[in-house]
Structure formats: C-alpha cells, structure tokens
Symmetry: C3
C-alpha cells in the first residue's frame, strides 16, 4: 500500500505533468496541422488583392472580443459566488478555457475546416473555440467545488471531443441552424455536466454544506460575471451569424430577450421569496436565461415581440427551477448541481431548441425574401421544406441530449479513477486544497487543513 | 385599518405584479408596433443588395456595446459604494435599465422613428434606448437608498416618457445638437432626480446616516464602475454621431476632456482635503465630469485644446460641488442627493450645454468645410445662422431644465403614494429590506430587522 | 529649519500644484501644436470625399477601446492585490495614465507626426499614447507602495520623454518592427522601473513587510485586472499593425501564445509550490507573459505553433522568475520589485525581442508574398536583407535596455529630491497616507497614523 508521503508526492506532480502533456500534444498537432487562414496570411491575403475592409476580421473581431470576455470574465466571476472558492472558480475557469481553446481549435478544425489536410485558423475559429470553451465551463458549473483541476482537465479533454462531434452532426450532417448554441453549447454543456455530476454523486456532501453559500462580497463579485455576460450576450449569439442583417437582427433579438428575462426573474424571485424578498442567486443566473433561449432562433425572423416573449418565459422557468426543481434534482435524481446549470442552461437551452423548431417551421419566402438563403440555405435551395427543417431542428435537440448524457456519464466514470484525488466530502468548496491562501483566514485555516490532512491520508 | 399581515402580503405582491404588468404592456405594444429596421430585416436588407460592410451595424455596434457596459456595469457598480446597499445598487440598476430599454424603444420610436405606423428598431434604437436608461439611472443616483423597486419602476415609467418628449422637442422641434446628451441625458436626468428627491425630502434621514458611507471594499467595487465609465465614455458621446469624421472627432474630444477632468479632480481633491488627503468620492465621480461636459460640443470642431479646457473646468466644478455644495443642497434646499448627481451630471451637464452654445455660435463654413452639413444641417442649408443655432441651443437647455424639474416634481408626488411602501427613515441604504442577504452579517441583521418591522407596522 | 506644520502645508500643496502646472503646460502646448488629423477633421475629411467606412476609425477604434480598458482597468486592478493599497493602486494608475496620455500625445507627436509644424491626432495617436501610458504603469509596478503621487508624476514626466525618444530611435531611425512593444513598452517600462527602484532602494523596507501581501478579496480584485489584460491582449498587439491580414494574424498569434503561457504557468506554479499548491501571484502575472513575448513577432509569420511555443516558454520563465529570481533581485541586486515586473515584463520582453530577431531573420519572400511590404518594408524594398533586419532588431533591444536603465537611474535621482516626501519605511504599501479611508479600519488607523506623524516629523 502506498503511504501518505508517496501519494502526496504523486498528486503534487499530477497537475504539472498533465498540463505539460496536454500542451505538448496540442503543440505538436498545431505544428503539423494548423495554418493561418487566407484572411490572416501575409502571402495569401495580399495575393487576393482585396480591400482591407473586406477582411473577415472587421466583421467579427469586436464580437469575438465580447465573447472572449464572457468566457473568461463572465463565467469565471459568475462562479465566484462561493464564499471560499473564489480563487478556484476564477482561476480554474482560466485554466480550463485556455486549454479548451487550443484543443477545440484542433477538434473543430478536423471536423469543420480542413483544407488540403490543414486546419485554417482565423477570427471565425477563435469564436468557435471560445464557444466550445463556454460549454466546458457550463459543465464545470455543475461540478464546481467537488472536482480538482486534474479531473477538470480530463473532463475538458473528453468534452471538447464530443462537443466537436455533436456540433459536426448537427451543423454539417443534419443541416441544423444553431448560431448562438441553444443546443450545441447550452443544452450540451448542461446535460453533459449534470450526467457527470450524477455519476460523481456524493451522499455525504452535507459535510461541506456550510461552505456552499455566498457571502456579501462574493455575491458582488458574481454580479460582475452576470452583468458582463448580460451586456455582451448579443455579441455571443450574433458573432457567428451572417454579416449584414444576420448579425444585426441576432443582436437585436438577444437584447430584447434579455430585458424580458430580467423583468420576469425579478417578478418571480420576489413572488416566491420569503417575505417577498429577492434572491441574488436568481438575479445572477435566471436573468441570463433570455440569452440562452434565443440561441437558436435569434438569427431567424423571430420578431422583437417574439424575443420578448421567449425571454420572459425563459426567465420564469429558470427562476422557478432554482426555487423548486434544484432541490428535487438532488433529492430524487441524485444530481448535485452547484451553480444550477440546469436552470440557466439546461431548461432554457431545451426551450431555445424548441423555439428554433417553431420559428424554422414558420419560415416563409415572404418573410425572409432573398435573405432566406442566408438563414436557411437548404430551404432556399429547395432541398428541404420549412417543416422538414423544423423536424431536423428537433432531431438536433435529441441528438444533443443523447451525446451530452452518454458523454457526461462516460466522463463521470473517467473522473472516478481513484488516483485523481478528488477533494474529500468535508473539503468541498474550499480553496485551500489547491491554493496558497493569504492571511485573512489563517487561524480557521489551520483547523480545516488539519481536517483535510486527516481525510486525504485515509 | 389594514393590519400588518395584509399589508405585508400586499407589499409582497407589488413588485411581481408591477413587473408583470409592465412587461405585458410593453410586449403587446411591441407586437403591434415594433419591426426590424431594413438593415436588420432579412427580406428588406437583401432586397437592397448592398455590401455587408455598409450595414449600419458595423458603424455603431462596437460603440453600442461600450455604452451598454457603461449603463449596466458602470452605473451599477459606481452606485455600489454604499456599505450595505451593493445588492440593491447593482441589481436595481439592472431591473430599472432593463425595463427602461423596452419602454424607451417604444416612446422614442413613437416620437422619432415611426415608418408607416411602425417603429423600426436597429442598432441606432438600441443606442438611443440605452441613453434613455442612463438618464433614469442618473435620477436613481439622487434617490439611491431611499426608494424601493416599485417606486423606482414607476419613476422610470414617467421619466422615460418625459425624456422622450424632451428629446423630441430639442432634436426635432428646435433642431438642437446634443449627441452625447449634456442636456437630454445628464441635465435632464440630474434635475429630474433632484426635483424628485426634493419632494421626497426626509427630515429624519439622520437615522440612517451611519449606513450612508462606504467601506474599503465597496469603494473598490465603485471604482470598477468609475473606470469602465471613464474608458468607454468616448464611445458614449460618439455612438450616435455621423459616421466618419464625426465619430472619430467626438471620441477624441471626449478622450482628452476626461484626462483633464481627472487631473483637475486629483488637484482639487487634495487641495480641499483634510491634511491634503484625497477623497475617493471625488475620484469616483468628478473625474468623469469631463465626459459629461463635452456631451453637446464633442462632435463639433471643439479642438483638442478646447476639450482639455472644458474637462479641466468640469472636474474642478464637480469636485468643489461635492465638497462645498452638496451639504448646502441638503441644508438649504432640502435636496438629499445620495450619489451627488448634481455634481457629476447636473452642473457639468449645464456647463456642457453652455459650451455647446458657444461652440455652435462660433461655427464657420471655413472651419467645417463640407462637414458643416453633418454637424449643423440647418446652418449649412442656410436656414439658420450660427448665432441662431446658438440661441436654439440655449433654448434647449431651458426647455430641458423645465421638463426635468416639473417632471421630477410630478414624479415625487407619484412616488409619495402611501401604499408604495418606501423604506422607513431608519432603514435607508439597507439591502436587507429587499434581499435575502447571506450569513456574514446574520446577527446584527436580527437587530435591524426587528427595528424595521416595528417601523413598517406603524 | 522648517517645522512640521509648515512642511505639512507644503506637502499638502505639492500634488495640487504639480497637477495644475502639468495640466496648464500641456494645455498650452495643445493649443499651439495639436490639431485633428484629416480623418477626424470636418473640413478635411469631407474634402477627401471618401466613404465613411474608409475612415481609420473603423479599423482601429474597437482595438483602441480594448487597449484603453487594459491600461486603466487591467493595470489598475492587477496592482490592487496589496491588502491596504487598493485605493492607491487603482487611483494612481488613473492619475498617472491620464497625465501620460496628454504628455505622450505631445512627445510622440513631436517625434512621429508633425505635419507643417502641427501634431495631428486621431485614433492612431490615441493608441500610441495609451501604449506609452502602459510603459509608465509597468514602471509604477516596480515602485508600487514606495512612492507618492508627486514622485510618480515626475517619473511619468521623465519616462514619457525617454519613451518617445527610444521609440523614435527604434522605429524611425533603426527601422525596427515592434508593433506590440516587447521592446518599446515592456522591456523599456520594466528596466526603467527596476533601475529607478534600485536607486530608491530601502534597506529598512522590512518595517512595512506585513502590508506587502494580499488578502483574499484583494486577490480577487487583482484577478479582474489579470483577466481583462488577458482577454484584450490580442487587441493590444494588433491595434497598431497594418489593417487586413496584419491585425488578423497578430491577434491570432497573441491569442494562442496566451493560452500556452496560462498552461505553463499553472504547471510550473503547482510544481514549485509547497505541497503542490498553486500561487495566485503566478496566475495573476505569469499567465500574461504570453502576450508580452509575441509583442514584436506577433505581426510576423510566426505560425500558430510558434505562438504556442513562445507563450509556453514565457509562462515558464516568468513563473520561475517569481519563485526564484525575485528574492535574489532584492538580496543581491538591491532591487525591490513590488509587482514582479521583471518577471512579467522584463524577461518576457527581452525574450520577445530576441524572438523578433529570429523571426525577422527567417523572413522570406515566399512566406510573406506581397505582404512582405507591410511587415518589413525595408526588406521588401530591397534596402535591407532579412539578416540585416534581424541585426537591427537586436540593436533595438540594446538601445532600449540602455535608454531604460540610464533613464531609470536618472529618474531615481530625481525622485530622491528630499522635499518630495516619500512614504517612510514603516508606512509603505499603506493607503491612509494619501487617502481618506472609510471606517472599517478606523481604530487601527489611529495607531498607524500616529506612527506616520512621528516618522514624517523627524
């Protein structure tokens, strides 16, 4: 039997070795496969002799930067609501997403943008990789505080692969539209994370429950995440849509939908709160559901009213989910969902997919004119009726749910490998396991570290 | 007499019902009136057969996003300086602005962009709605901590209406130029809020004075708001100006003006501070006055030197206002101005309007060349002399002051309706009335809640 | 001998007077020399009769805004990690950068953009001025907590001048390429600050050592700075590069390099940490080294793999520097480097310069095609071989190191002028010397102020 010192030494090396291994592997694959796309290549761009303003960069880079902030600032700080897990929330987001960007560039490149055996990268691939990172971070939200960085990197390794495959099946095989990722990002990320959390179910999590809440300032840090996600979400949904009216309309729809989900979240939170008081958890999360719910239909002719109605519904469902369904999810289904990703990404994602089915099914040549070719190329080309498109959209949802839950289950089995050293039940939601934490809490820390050492030595 | 339980139940339902009512009403109006503008409509845009890069979206969307961040992050966190009111500052900003965006889309649409009985929405209307929300948040700053969310939503309902009317009179009737809103946003928002605060004057506010200050970390949260407002203000003033040299020049002028107001704020703050110490309140607020003061003249040929001089003056006036005038405002004029909006938006707004009078009056064909038509179309068209334009600009200021003070007074009367349940004098600047506040302060909370219940039962 | 009251009065007036003097001087110089450039001037732009979308503004303004956020939010909050120096970190960043923007506009204007005796300003000059401010803030990082605002403004006054001169020698005389400023910004700023810190060496700094660390929340504030720097760094490096493929490629390279430096930072931090724990200082700083290291070569055909490799190396060197070299720097070289700028900007900057030497030396017509003229105009024009360009790049590094260390030394002598009132050794890293600090720490403050008064009276 390995004694405590050897195990400790082994665990000490796991994170460095895994980081170096993953970085080495992606670097080699980059050397072999990855090249600048023609809009970013000195020789190829100038050969084309085009005007600078036609470079794809100017159509997408500002939106890309907004998405980039959402992924790193938005998700990172949103998860910093936990009182003693702020370092891990922000910094593991940073680590996971940084790795996911590299790995997703490769995986999505293999599936979507091989040209003569080479992957072409440019602003579009940066956006796509950030989207994939977002899905990983959604899954992270479900297991936040209960998994170490080595486990999380392995989760990302698997999830990015399946994300790319699912995205390929939806967009390239089924011809489904899902620009803002109600299905590919939110539904996939949420159910992957929930399935994974189910496999990692901890019956004794009660031991760490006193740390599973916020303090006053941690809730304000989380609001930094919320508000940046909220303000930049119009860029998220519109970043990959067609230039011109496509990006314009998508950002409008998202903007309106979010205002409605904010109003319904405040309404429902006060309605179900004790003494009519509002709950920060709802405001931080459910108010964002309006962005999720128009992820599929935002680029379509949803109409501004449609956006309001969708956002209102999503905010309502999400708030009620936090209040009534999250406890059931844990008690009955044994799914411990730290951040409530089922409420913010799961249900609104599914609703968004269904809304996409509806709006696609209602598409007419009259409503879209010559723009039909941009939004529904297969319908415009006569290869599919609007109804058929709707059916394919629905298939896309089912495929996504399947990939996510099977994949998340496999991920859970992977993460249960015993040598990965998850935090003990009594040390969940605690930064001190992974971080040199400064003085402030020195004394209490002594106590908790003693407890930790006892636990992990066992 | 209604007993305490029934009143409590009534108050519990007020916020949800008002949110639902307002959302329902705007949704219906959206369904009837609001349509995508041609740059965002699939059929209309493609019918035009224009190049994607000509879409209005690419000229304004990056600036819009900066403005959006200013409204939600900037104003929200700037007001989070209060030690026990951070949740309310950030989240009521969120609620108010989300509602204001919808309502302003309708009100401004009726006044400015009706086409065949329909309101056309696009990136320009998003910017305009955000501007209107900014005015509402300025007024919020004057009454921060002393009004509940139901009162605030009613304030927004009225203020957006009057904002739209005032804006219509200035821009469409009087032909006044005010791109960055020295008058329409800052002067209007400030004096509306101050008049409203006058009507809601609380002689017993002393009872909550111990909460009306900051703590170390809350001042840092407020600096997040300040710095984002400061960095993005060039986008605020330039977002609605003419593409090309107009946006370019406006952003330059604002950039320089802000650097000067920062220097003068530091200088004056140290000069008037005890022992030469700086005061965070000044830095957080007065340093921004340079953005306010070029709100009207920023798009004109103000010259870089003019921008520096204007910013310097605004920072000086604003800092001195915080130090010397805010106490007078309360003691003599019975106006309690929580955030000092008179110093940041009121006086610099009026100064900015007067600067606009001056710079408009000095406009010559020589200085503007063919660009005169963009900045002063009526002058370029020969329908008005530069001097006449200056007189109209001055009228715009007077109209704005009138609308704001009469409107704010009416708003105050509305908010005094007894069933709206404002916080008692002893419970101002306190999150616990509206929020489930996490543990940290559990014990002291018991005490203060007891006090609250006594107060509200009376 | 001047008694304590008179000295106190004198010191009280130093900051206001210096701010007013500097502002007055730059304002006069602006009035005489600074004019809008043709893309921002109403008459000149319209005379050109060009399409709005050709205005330089649309190619650079979104990137400029990202850079602006990096300078004010990024640097400001990154330095707020100190437990009792958050006000000063954020607000002196604000003051220094605001002054530096004005002064750099003039200095860089004199060196680079005089047209008929006038300095033309536009979006490009705003970017350049922000870059210069970034260098000043890097130097600030070296002396953070040990210098007062008057000293810092004098430092900025000198540093901006030398920055402009060094930049002129590199870009205009030597024909060196350095778009993202590995040399001109990072190497220069770091070694200027380190030389200055050497001259200001405090053998008794131990007396303030208890304040030279973070607390839990201050580390989270610092992460706001880190993450915004990280997400916007692609805009930093690409902001001044050629429109089209140049900006596109630079942002891609920076994006990849940063992901790699993040992975290597986590790996190394865990490897060298006690019990394999991660250190927030490394994550906050070294993870950014990937942005610094491609500052010179980012616009070149570095290849995505090259970006990964460079970022990986930079993160490694930077993390090891924090762990092993910073203590040596203080013990052996008597350089006290508060923020570790040697690790984040110094060594990665030098590495970035050397990488530029390498990549420039490898440039071929084949790899760059007609784009060679954009990246290496002298090579494309046949006036220089690629090898010669590499040699000039290396000279650029040596010139920069010379300017920085001599200039920093002179700066240190300037800042040692006795009447500038630096904080006493026992009061370093302490906001209360400069700020009215709110209640939270009232009582302990009494103690520390007593100490301060004793110290400064001596």
């Amino acid at each position: 039997m390995a004694g405590s010192p050897r195990r400790a030494a082994g665990r000490r090396l796991q994170l460095p070795l895994l980081c170096l291994l993953l970085q080495g592997a992606t670097a080699i694959l980059f050397a072999v496969f990855v090249r600048y796309d023609p809009d970013a290549d000195a020789a190829l761009w100038h050969w084309g002799n085009r005007s600078s303003s036609d470079n794809e960069f100017y159509f997408r880079y500002p939106s890309f930067q907004d998405v980039h902030v959402m992924v790193f600032v938005g998700f990172g700080f949103l998860m910093a609501f936990l009182q003693r897990y702020g370092f891990s929330s922000v910094a593991f987001t940073f680590l996971l997403a940084a790795f996911a960007l590299q790995w997703a560039t490769l995986v999505q490149g293999f599936f979507h943008s091989m040209h003569g055996g080479r992957i072409h990268v440019g602003v579009q691939s940066m956006i796509n990789a950030d989207f994939c990172a977002a899905a990983v971070l959604i899954s992270f939200g479900a297991v936040l505080g209960k998994t170490g960085p080595v486990q999380l990197l392995l989760m990302a390794l698997l999830e990015v692969l399946l994300f790319g495959l699912n995205e390929f099946v939806l967009l390239s095989v089924l011809g489904v539209k899902d620009a803002g990722g109600s299905m590919t990002i939110h539904t996939f990320g949420a159910y992957f994370g929930l399935a994974l959390s189910r496999v990692l179910y901890r019956p004794q999590l009660e031991k760490s429950r006193h740390r599973q809440g916020s303090v006053y300032h941690s809730d304000l840090f989380a609001m930094i995440g919320t508000i940046f996600l909220w303000t930049f979400w119009p860029s998220f949904n519109s970043a990959p849509t067609m230039p011109g009216d496509g990006q314009h309309r998508t950002s409008l729809n998202t903007y309106y939908s979010l205002t409605a989900s904010t109003l319904s979240t405040f309404a429902l939170s006060a309605l179900v709160g004790e003494h009519g008081r509002l709950d920060m958890v709802h405001i931080q999360n459910a108010a964002l559901a309006g962005g999720v719910v128009v992820g599929t239909s935002g680029e379509m002719m949803l109409t501004p009213f449609g956006a309001l109605a969708a956002g209102f519904l999503a905010g309502t469902v999400s708030t009620l989910g936090f209040k009534f369904f999250t406890p059931v999810l844990e008690a009955k289904f044994k799914v411990q969902d730290t951040c409530g990703v089922h409420n913010l990404h799961g249900m609104p994602g599914v609703l968004g997919a269904l809304l996409g089915v509806l709006v696609a099914g209602l598409a007419t040549h009259e409503a879209y004119g010559d723009g039909l070719g941009s939004v529904f190329p297969l319908v415009a080309g006569g290869r599919r009726s609007a109804t058929a498109q709707a059916v394919f959209q629905l298939c896309g949802l089912l495929v996504t749910l399947t990939f996510a839950s099977v994949g998340g289950g496999l991920g859970g089995l992977l993460l249960r490998l015993p040598f990965l050293g998850p935090p003990p039940d009594s040390q969940c939601f605690e930064d001190r396991i992974y971080w040199e934490v400064p003085g402030e809490r020195e004394e209490e820390a002594q106590g908790s570290l003693g407890a930790e050492e006892t636990d992990t030595r066992a």
